[in-house]
Amino acid sequence: MTISVWRYSHLALAVSSFVFIVLAALTGIILAFEPVATKLPGYRVQEFEELNLAQTITVLKKQYPELIELSVDANQFVTVKGTDADGNDVQAYVNPRNGHILGVVQQQSEFFQWVTAFHRSLFLKETGRFFIGLTSFLLLLIAVSGTFLILQRQRGLKRFFGRIVKDNVAQYYHVVLGRLSLIPIILIAVTGTYLSVSRFGLLPDEKVQHNVDLDAIASEPEKPAADFPVFQATALAQVQTVEFPFSDFPEDYYTLKLKDRELVVNQFTGDILSEVPYPATTLFTNLSLDLHTGRGSIIWSIVLAIASGNILFFVYSGFVITWKRLSGRVKNKYSAAESQFILLVGSENGSTYHYANAVFRQLLQQGHKAYLANLNSYQAFPEASHFIILTATYGLGEAPTDAAKFVSQLEGVEQQQPVSFSVLGFGSYAYPDFCKFAFEVHQLLLNQRWASPLIDVHTVNDKSPEDFSRWAEAWSQQTGIVVGLSEDLAGAAPKALKTLTVTVNTPAGTDGHTFLLRLKARGRTKVKSGDLLGIYPANDHRERLYSVGVIGNEIQLSVRLYPNGLGSAFLHALAPGQQIRAKLLQNQHFHFPVKAPQVILISNGTGIAPFLGMIDENKQKTPVRLYCGFRESASVRIYSQFLEEQQKAGKLSELKVALSREGKKQYVCDLLQEDEQAMAQALEQGGVLMLCGSLAMQKDVLQLLDSACQKYLPHDISFYQSRSQVLMDCY
């Protein structure tokens, strides 16, 4: 399985650094609580921003005859070091307004000291520091590659925060949380890297140096510190530390370390003796420390803790995803040259392989020679009689990475024997280009001389077991080989059966073949026209599916009676009042569109059943045209009264009927041929075409539509199929 460059680097980076990342993240979570713990006492005074240095120094000088240092920490707690009036040493948090002691300065607890040292160097001194620095740089690269993966997945910056499809828990939350904690994680990584780089002296960094001409220091005119203009002009919030003059000698001075510069101030006159701004590297280092440690902000430190927790989750979920992807691989028992059944897979994240594997295993179990490979491995398969192509779509309707070369390879390699194929697309309606690549592959194969479609292209929305079963059933019917969904893929156990009561059952009426059956569900159901009803005529595994129309609150089936038909005979024998147990399957992709400028319904035979319900449901009176084909006029008769009523009610705007054994002997396709241009126009305007009936009709209609598209439209039919403008439910 090939994987894209970003995914490969994302994984490679993660694998190479995850041990260090886990250690750093674990200790990081603990350390995030240090700012919380230190800030909790709340020694910050109200309206701190309004205080200036002159006020505070004046107050402190009265209170403490000997002052050594005043400092303001990231929490804006003010610490004083000096001696009080009784000659006792003082090192305490004070109130900068009145000088009162608020609390004792606690040294960093041994526990946090220990954790900090571990976080910085893993107790490996310089080596450890190097590895931690490297790790934070790798974390940055992981975050960047992850961002690109999200961009690829969401197809562009605009949709970056759009909905994410839930493939599986690990993958879903890996992406969701990845987006949310992207910024904190990038900040952690960048600042961590910066701090390491500056720690190793790789940045030009200089200590501030003051050049004070000691001989020129004046001791007059002497002013009280409260009157020093520089003190008055400096807000306490700007101060990091103030070092008081060591003695009364004029050459001892105040040193003011502010946020952005350092000042030296004459202790008698208040003149500024020297002023040096901090270099940018110092400012960046301070900013990095603020951001990396969360000091001074409880909220930010909690954000950091959460982000670190997320990192741990990413390591876990990342490995779950990788493991799943790797476990999707299989070994082929038969070679490409000897196999009859060729399964070709296009998968970006490996989930499609699970389905392919399920089919593959069942074929092998039944003694068939099957071969499984990715689409890029397309080659000559001399013994092949069947191709099964299972493919996802990636990005903007593009091929997944391991199918990217398929299109060009298909042109180059021609099979020497006829091969029938079936394409099954995997995707989600959450994306606009639903299964586009699968439709493209189907079209491409249709154009191959040697290839013929066994069944039409099928799609699986959001890993729906029902969708997959529908394909499996269609394929099994054509080949006589039973494949199905293994239990782990089928997901939840089959839904509970519903009890339905027969209300009307027409005799196999006017044409002797077709009858209508009406059923009423007990209790409330969410059934909509186009859904499927599964019945079990012999009360065993054999299931028969019927498209239903919902008329009023009843379910209507239109059934053609076949001699010895398992399902049709069973249904035909039902009398009003009788109850049956059946399964109602949602068939989301075949519901009447909620918003469409117009809808064209195309059916033959009993395929009209869901359309009858849809027309009845068309309360908003969307323009609807119905093209239906029957054998003889007698077949139409059971529907004619209903259709006339609907036309009068404005729910059906146009009705065209083709009769294949009477009059002009037309098929429904012939009607469409006449209105070819109108069809194309409808597609262009965003109209929706719905097909229900036999596969043969579907094939003809699609061919006709494709040629209409080529004549009148800029895109081919697969474009409209992937935009859910051509909906099909044929059998």
Binding site: I68, D89, Q209
Partner: protein, 162 residues
């Protein structure tokens, strides 16, 4: 009663003697300022020790550096501290980085001043040098009044009576 008075007087006298002798042997407090050179790197760990004329450690006066983990980098002092462990928690402060100054109050027995003892400033920085005698000065009234230059990370040390 007289017996009791005698005993009481004896006690009073005894206390007086004990107290006055302890006064005579009293301690001097000094503000000690260490000014660092502009070296680049981590904060320096510095120990101020009282050593006798032969250079043997007598007493630890102050430790700049809170984390015990790094005490072994101050090799010579660490040996002494291991042999005769003293509780230094009350005389421990923060380490000092290059270019900074650190002012701490240290207590020196009066009897040790001008008595042939020395003050030793021992310094070490992570992944840099270790100086056993970054600064060693005679413990004399004269030296305590002057500016004493260091040889390693310390630029100079000054004292002022507190």
């Amino acid at each position: 009663m007289p017996q009791f008075l005698k005993t009481a007087l004896l006690f009073v006298a005894f206390f007086f003697v004990v107290c006055s002798s302890s006064f005579a042997q009293g301690v001097n407090k000094y503000k000690c300022m260490i000014q660092m050179t502009n070296y680049m790197g981590e904060g320096a760990y510095i120990v101020i020790s009282l050593v006798d004329s032969k250079g043997a450690y007598e007493k630890t006066l102050y430790v700049l550096g809170p984390d015990k983990k790094w005490y072994n980098t101050l090799e010579e002092w660490h040996k002494f501290q291991k042999k005769k462990p003293a509780n230094i928690s009350a005389i421990t402060g923060a380490s000092v980085t290059g270019g900074d100054r650190s002012i701490n109050v240290i207590e020196i027995d009066k009897s040790k001043i001008n008595a042939g003892y020395k003050l030793r400033f021992e310094s070490a920085v992570e992944n840099k040098e270790y100086y056993v005698k970054d600064l060693e000065m005679p413990l004399t009234t004269e030296a305590l009044a002057a500016k004493n230059d260091g040889t390693g990370f310390i630029r100079y040390v000054r004292f002022s009576a507190n």
